[in-house]
């Protein structure tokens, strides 16, 4: 060791002891102040001490640790094991909402099926708003991705001979949905999470909440995040950022979506200048339990469940969805697409043929004829959820259900590799809109979408990051600004008058009323004004909680801020699209208009904070727009053979 080395070491240890001393003093001061219950004074001292900001640096940041995020992380690690990859998530990855997906994951697997048929079902199901090049890539890669998951240990249901089993699903002409009982998302997520544990390049930031993207020199160079445990605000720098934050169902009051589904990634991108695509297309799932909004999977209908109105009549036959058969028929009746089934419910309600309850009117899902054995083997979670949350046993009783907000077809606009128009920013999964789902997603397409486009985004980000020089560091100044904003707007603000829950409830009510299953101009305009009012009132927010440790009220406020932006984009796009297509039904424009609107909406945030909508033509490759036909009139119905696997 040279003298200068020794000197450096002494200096370093001196610095360490100095820092320790400062920490001790600070902690002691804080405790004294706390003793005197002068918490605010403690806060001032504490944050004064923290005038500068910590930062860390990686090659790639995944925002979100669900199906898309974890798949992207593995893909990037496999492209280049020398990359440093950070998964930053506001929850532990196994809490991500992928965990709630039930029914299955579509991918052509059997000899009677073909990629073209899966593509056609997806495109017609999406009312021709899907980009067909993206759909073609999707159907081709989905089976490989599902197989890859099998290789990582996913407990897929099997045929007696040991091969993968597939089940029927709504809007699909062939049986091609892989499943792990009715906990498919749970098993996929845990398989992915457990598999990521063996990849050294992947670092996790569990329970870190991202508040802002750092953009400079025309590209994204990192994020600002709060570590919930400590309240520390930190810059995390990277050459590429992939948004995998899932959907935004909590913008509505009645949703299957978990509490964490607030459109965080969509708002982060939107605020950074990237456009959101097709935000008016919000899917209602036809079978949610009243009050809780808990999803009863479409697999319940694929296994043979009936939808009955208050007279016990299979009402879907009145809505151009085919004629009732005892056994399920593909692309017919209960196996029609979700948008059409949810719309049928509203019509049925208008005819007075639904059943009123304190939590809105319902129809019935009848599974009784399937028998206890099949329900236990194929739909155990459905039975568990009905018993635990509705106090009903579907083996013997009818299940009350109503349409419930389930899935955002729109999202951050990306190309086929997950790239957004903003350099260094990518997105995948429900947070993104590639678009394969068009105006209405088919059940069991979203899980493979997370895998296919998660993997594509991961590989693209790895390639991009490998070529980029590190950022110029000037974004750290922006990060400090963001820290000051968080302090002044929330943590150290006194005297606000608005509660988070009040604004949230008013927002949800306004969005449901205007952008529900059916929409019209006057109500949408009214909601636009209401949302503007709520944006202003949000500035006057008051938090009860000013502490640093695990401040969930601060988190809720930041999520509400994100949701207000997302809500505006939904209502704005819905107002502007003057036609009816898939999940976007305008009573004042009831017909699809391919001449003018065979196009994606792209909504940008303007410098004044409002929004601007442009249109981008849909990519058509081989399937020109046609009529969506369901029921047996399309072609001889293919009755499902009641094969029993497991």
């Amino acid at each position: 060791m040279t003298a200068s080395d020794r000197g450096a070491q002494r200096w370093a240890s001196h610095r360490v002891s100095q820092v320790q001393e400062i920490i001790c003093i600070s902690v002691a001061l804080k405790r004294q102040c706390a003793d005197l219950a002068r918490v605010e004074a403690a806060e001032t001292l504490y944050s004064g001490w923290l005038e500068t900001m910590e930062s860390s640096s990686h090659d790639i940041i995944l925002v979100g640790g669900g199906g898309a995020g974890l798949r992207a992380a593995i893909a990037a690690a496999e492209v280049n094991p020398n990359l440093s990859i950070a998964v930053v998530s506001k929850v532990y990855p196994m809490r991500s909402h992928t965990v709630s997906a039930e029914g299955g994951a579509a991918g052509v697997a059997k000899p009677d099926d073909s990629l073209d048929e899966h593509a056609y079902d997806t495109i017609s199901g999406g009312d021709w708003l899907s980009d067909q090049d993206a759909v073609e890539a999707f159907v081709k890669e989905a089976p490989q991705e599902l197989l890859q998951l099998e290789r990582w240990g996913c407990p897929w249901n099997r045929e007696p001979d040991g091969h993968i089993a597939v089940r029927a699903f709504g809007g699909m002409k062939k049986r091609r949905t892989w499943f792990a009982a009715d906990k498919t998302g749970f098993h996929m997520l845990h398989t992915l999470f457990q598999t990521t544990l063996k990849y050294r390049p992947i670092t996790r930031y569990d329970e870190w909440f991202i508040t802002k993207l750092l953009v400079d020199d025309g590209r994204v160079q990192g994020v600002v995040a709060i570590e919930l445990m400590s309240g520390k605000i930190q810059a995390i720098l990277a050459k590429a950022v992939i948004l995998c934050t899932g959907g935004c169902g909590r913008v509505f009051p009645f949703t299957t979506n978990a509490n964490i589904k607030n459109g965080d990634g969509m708002a982060l991108a939107y605020r950074a200048g990237a456009p959101l695509k097709d935000m008016e297309f919000m899917q209602y799932h036809p079978t949610g339990l009243p009050f809780t909004g808990i999803l009863i999977t479409e697999a319940a209908r694929a296994e043979g469940g009936y939808m009955l109105n208050k007279d016990g009549y299979r009402y879907l036959q009145d809505y151009n969805l085919g004629t009732p058969e005892p056994k399920p028929v593909l692309r017919s009746m209960e196996l029609g697409p979700r948008d059409r089934l949810s719309q049928a419910f509203v019509k049925e309600e208008q005819k007075g043929r639904t059943i009123p309850t304190p939590y809105g009117s319902v129809v019935h899902l009848d599974l009784r004829h399937l028998g206890e054995r099949l329900i236990n083997a194929r739909l155990p979670f459905v039975r568990e959820l009905c018993l635990k949350y509705q106090n009903i046993d579907p083996v013997h009783e009818l299940v009350p259900v109503r349409p419930v907000v389930h899935y955002m077809m729109g999202g951050v606009s990306t190309d086929i590799d997950g790239a957004t128009p903003l350099a260094g920013l990518l997105a995948a999964g429900e947070a993104a809109c590639v678009s394969i789902n068009g105006a209405n997603r088919l059940g069991s397409n979203s899980l493979p979408e997370c895998l296919v486009f998660g993997a594509r985004a991961g590989r693209a980000a790895a390639a991009f990051a490998s070529e980029q020089k590190p950022g110029n560091g000037t974004v750290l100044a922006q990060a400090l600004d963001e820290q000051r904003r968080l302090e002044s707007q929330f943590l150290r603000k006194a005297g606000g008058r608005e509660r988070v829950s009040t604004i949230r409830t008013e927002m949800q009510t306004a969005v449901e009323k205007s952008a529900g299953i059916y929409r019209e101009e006057a109500v949408l305009s009214e909601a636009t004004a209401k949302l503007r009012e709520l944006q202003q009132r949000f500035e006057d927010i008051n938090l009860d909680d000013h502490s640093r440790t695990f401040n969930t009220e601060l988190e809720s406020a930041l999520e509400l801020g994100f949701m207000l932006d997302v809500a505006e984009s939904i209502v704005r796009c819905a107002l502007q699209r003057k036609e009816s297509r898939g999940a976007h039904q305008r009573t004042d424009y009831p017909v699809r208009d391919d001449d003018k609107l065979l196009a994606h909406s792209l909504v940008y945030r303007t410098s004044s904070g409002s929004s601007r909508v442009e249109y981008l033509p849909v990519k058509i490759t081989r399937w020109p727009p046609g009529e969506r036909v369901y029921g047996q009139s399309q072609e001889p119905g293919q009755s499902l053979k009641a094969t029993r696997t497991q």
Binding site: D206, A258, S547
Partner: protein, 260 residues
């Protein structure tokens, strides 16, 4: 007008408190409300500082585990009405045996370390190309490990386990069940690697078979069963090593036999 019930909630904020204390909140009892709804009611309407984790509200994400009247439970799956009859309070506390971060939020990082320790992924000696298709696995072979794959990592079993309380380094029920999930999977070849962690005083031999973990598991994973299964397997392997010094290879052959 709905009936009322009092929630007696453990509060602790490290920035203000030296130790936890209880605070009472009166909440309405609706037939449909679970304890989580009541907590949300308090947070939204009464006291925004109340701190707890939750997400899916359907018993699958594993976030909202807490002690409810002394029992480890998921708050989203515990109805208020089941307590209202006594006309009593409902006591809500953070999960036992975990360090408390704040109010009902516990520190989970130690659990995550234990989870990773047991190598909860499919270990393969060789990986055939994807083009060769799936590993075959009959429904009966799936059934052998399926139950152990149902763990949602809610950690209720740790809060129920007296051994965890006495010995914090004990790997614990969920992690052992997860190890056994992979050991029993016909596609896996990693049982031997996991033995190093499991056949250790802090692994399966730490368990005194109280069985509380299985009793409180909201997903019927039966960690106690997994541990006993593993103990028997470990003893058999140990005995085999006397009878047949090449017993280890036999074990490898066994785990490979179900594949491809």
């Amino acid at each position: 007008m709905a009936d009322k019930i009092v929630l007696e909630i453990a509060r602790y904020s490290p920035e203000q408190d030296y130790e936890p204390h209880f605070e009472n909140f009166e909440v309405p009892v609706y037939k449909e409300w679970v304890v989580l709804d009541a907590l949300n009611h308090v947070k939204d309407m009464v006291d925004g500082t109340l701190t707890y984790r939750w997400s899916c509200r359907m018993g699958i994400c594993g976030s909202c585990g807490m002690m409810i009247n002394g029992e480890p439970k998921l708050a989203c799956a515990t109805f208020l009405s089941s307590y209202a009859r006594n006309g009593n309070k409902i006591r809500v506390e953070p999960l036992r045996y975990f360090p408390v971060v704040r109010d009902l939020v516990t520190e989970l990082s130690d659990f995550l370390v234990k989870l990773k320790k047991v190598k909860p992924w499919l270990v393969r000696k060789e990986e055939p190309p994807l083009a060769q298709g799936e590993f075959l696995q009959t429904p009966e072979q799936v059934d052998r490990y399926k139950q152990f794959s149902m763990c949602i990592n809610c950690t209720l079993c740790y809060a129920a386990c007296p051994v965890v309380g006495l010995d914090p380094v004990f790997v614990g029920p969920a992690a052992i069940a997860l190890a056994q999930r992979y050991n029993m999977d016909s596609r896996d070849q990693g049982a031997e690697e996991r033995t190093a962690v499991l056949a250790h005083p802090d692994g399966i031999w730490g368990c005194t078979f109280v069985g509380e973990c299985t009793r409180v598991c909201p997903k019927h994973v039966d960690p106690a069963g997994a541990i006993q299964q593993y103990k028997i397997a470990a003893v058999l392997d140990w005995l085999k090593s006397f009878v047949m010094p090449r017993g280890r290879e036999t074990q490898n052959a066994r785990s490979e036999s179900g594949n491809d």
